[in-house]
């Protein structure tokens, strides 16, 4: 009985972590679909979201602070696209990825010098540090439900946006065939800006909801980006819903490893499984291999 509850506890903590990885992986996927670039600054969006929200929460009520943080970080995402990726048309994908690495370093440094190296956090949305809900015998912080609900709502809304609204469909058209989309009158450049903004907004939202649990710190971005990257690759690039499953798998795997092995080995388990999956399925679980022609282009 007791051990069963423990398993559930670990599982839920894995799902919580995993849902954050899933959100980061969705961000990777949105930008990857629009530009082919893996945006290594994705983790920095999460960090910035938390930082801005903590600062705003000192002056305005919490919901307003959250909305403000998401809006500001989305603006930052759009600006990055307009300042860099819109202008660098002739650069190869690898060069653009390197630029996102540079951006991630610079954003992190800006956060360090704008705020400081201290760890900070938002207040719990409901209850406080010690309040917990009983859930089939496992004790769960109410914030976990906030995280899970936020991620679930985000994923559903994103799905509806991409599937049923005009801008969402234009975005998908632009990623599946840019030249055809352009001929159909879609402004590809603006769609890319939208993808960056959306991805930054989603990252910032994640940064806000996890802030009470994991705290916000200027260096938190890079580890999240690596795990989110792993989740996106595990699911297969180009499919946001696969990214969600990938993220949950990474999170649960990590929690499971923590329950069985020394904590230092949780990343070893995750990446070992990831490597094995990649060696068996070179495009992740749900990724599609792209065809390639031998012609000079």
């Amino acid at each position: 009985m007791e051990s069963g509850n423990l398993e559930l506890q670990y599982f839920l903590s894995g799902i919580t972590k995993g849902s954050i990885y899933a959100v980061v992986a969705i961000g990777f996927n949105l930008i990857y679909s629009a530009t082919g670039v893996l945006n290594f600054a994705q983790g920095e969006f999460v960090m910035l979201g938390g930082m801005v929200a903590v600062t705003l929460a000192r002056f305005v009520p919490l919901p307003v602070a959250l909305a403000g943080a998401v809006a500001i970080v989305a603006l930052v995402g759009c600006l990055l696209e307009i300042l860099f990726f819109r202008r660098l048309q002739r650069h190869s994908i690898l060069h653009l990825v390197i630029i996102t690495i540079g951006l991630s370093i610079v954003l992190q440094e800006i956060a360090l010098h704008l705020w400081d190296e201290k760890v900070r956090s938002l207040p719990y949305f409901t209850g406080n540090e010690i309040s917990s809900l009983k859930f089939f015998g496992a004790a769960i912080s109410p914030q976990v439900f906030w995280v899970l609900a936020t991620v679930a709502v985000t994923v559903v809304l994103l799905h509806i946006f991409l599937k049923y609204t005009l801008p969402g469909r234009a975005m998908r058209a632009g990623s599946s065939n840019p030249s055809a989309a352009m001929l159909a009158g879609i402004n590809i450049a603006n769609m890319r800006t939208l993808a960056f903004g959306l991805s930054a907004a989603i990252g910032a939202l994640a940064g806000c909801v996890i802030s009470p649990i994991t705290m916000t710190h200027y260096e938190m971005g890079a580890p999240l980006a690596i795990k989110g990257f792993a989740a996106a690759i595990l699911g297969g690039l180009g499919n946001p819903m696969a990214a969600v499953l990938g993220g949950l798998m990474v999170g649960v795997l990590e929690a499971y490893s923590v329950s069985r092995l020394p904590a230092a080995y949780s990343d070893v388990t995750v990446f070992a499984v990831l490597l094995l999956v990649l060696f068996a399925r070179p495009h992740g679980f749900w990724g599609r291999p792209g065809g390639e022609s031998v012609r000079e282009h």
Partner: protein, 383 residues
């Protein structure tokens, strides 16, 4: 085709420049800079190896910090682990007499018996060779971002295993690595008296590897790698064993990283787990990109310069910010590396003679017409 300096001459010029540096520093009374310069030369070897994989074979590796650490840690563990406690074993009694072992004192003055640095060096290279083959064989079938993730994951595994294992010193790393007597009166050591000697060891090693790579990329192997870089499927169709060539390039560069790790570990007398960190590996890739990726000279120069500046702490707490801004600036303004635009500028002023540092990959294809755009060269990295 534009006239250019013969490679032999440019290497001689580089060697001359490297020899002159310590005298200039001594004259300027800044000899202390040699320590960081030596370290950045060793790091440049890692980035130079990465240049072969990324710039020529067109494959990304975000796991080279791990190979550096495998080299450094193997060497550190073997040369600090006291084997005298196993003396009862019959074979150990024999080994103790052989040149494989070295009796010395540890940091606290206790007598210990450890393996000799040469044994450790060969063990490190062998281990790096085996690991590079084991990881490279399946990973190099992956393309683009998937390969990047696989190598990054490999680096993370190595980093965390080092952090979680007692005999690698966990988070403390390993201290008290002895100096390495190379023979011929040369010793890899961080001692102050040996500063100039060690600078020459590092620059000699770098120069040697630079010449080797320079010749390699102009050989049949180099042309095959370039074909893989430009279009892997086409190279395959032309009868190039792409899998084999990619693996060879990967293993060679992993060995270079491990070698740099061994030398630097003996030089600084220790190694820590951050050497295997993901950020370190990402930084190597960034340095290779900042140097132009397929320009051996540019990569060597940029990585030495940038590493030197950050090791000396020239920018204080803004070090990372400066590195990030430089990286963004160089890669967005001069994706083919800073040397070629500089060379173009120089040529405009000086005239026809091209400076020695502008030897790029297009030298292998003299009939290629005008230098190709950088985006052409790396376009197919992510098909």
């Amino acid at each position: 085709m534009k006239p250019r300096l013969k490679p032999g001459l440019s290497f001689t010029l580089l060697a001359a420049a490297l020899i002159v540096v310590p005298w200039i520093l001594r004259w300027a009374d800044m000899e202390y800079c040699l320590t960081q310069l030596t370290m950045s030369l060793y790091y440049a070897i890692v980035v130079l190896g990465l240049c072969l994989v990324m710039g020529y074979a067109g494959q990304v590796s975000l796991g080279h910090g791990a190979f550096f650490a495998i080299g450094g840690y193997t060497s550190a563990v073997l040369t600090t682990c006291d084997v005298s406690k196993w003396q009862t074993a019959a074979w150990l009694g024999w080994i103790k007499q052989s040149p494989f072992c070295m009796a010395r004192e540890d940091l606290f003055g206790n007598p210990i018996l450890t393996l000799s640095p040469w044994v450790a060096f060969f063990a490190a290279m062998a281990l790096a060779f085996v690991v590079a083959n084991l990881i490279g064989y399946p990973a190099l079938r992956l393309r683009g971002h998937y390969l990047a993730m696989a190598t990054l994951g490999f680096g993370m595994i190595v980093n965390k295993v080092i952090l979680g294992t007692a005999f690698t010193g966990a988070a403390d790393g390993i201290n008290g690595v002895p100096e390495w007597n190379l023979g011929l009166g040369l010793t890899v050591s961080g001692k102050r008296a040996l500063r100039i000697e060690n600078y020459f060891i590092a620059s000699g090693l770098l120069l040697l590897l630079l010449v080797l790579l320079h010749n390699l990329v102009r050989s049949r192997v180099g042309r095959a790698l370039q074909a893989i870089h430009d279009r892997e499927t086409a190279a395959n169709a032309m009868g190039i064993n792409t899998a084999l060539y990619k693996l060879k390039a990967f293993v060679l560069s992993a060995l270079m990283a491990a070698m740099a790790g061994v030398f630097l570990t003996h030089y600084t007398a220790g190694i820590g787990p951050s050497e295997a960190g993901a950020l370190k590996s990402v930084r190597y890739v960034a340095l290779a990109a900042a140097g132009g990726m397929s320009s051996l000279w540019g990569v060597t120069g940029m990585s030495t310069l940038l590493n030197y500046m950050s090791l000396r702490g020239l920018f204080g707490s803004y070090d990372n910010a400066v590195f990030g801004l430089l990286l963004i600036g160089i890669v967005s303004l001069a994706p083919e590396g800073p040397l070629k635009p500089l060379a173009r500028l120089l040529r405009r002023f000086v005239g026809a003679c091209r400076p020695p540092n502008a030897v790029g990959p297009d030298a292998a294809r003299p009939d290629n017409g005008p230098a190709r755009r950088a985006s052409d060269q790396t376009q197919c990295l992510f098909p």
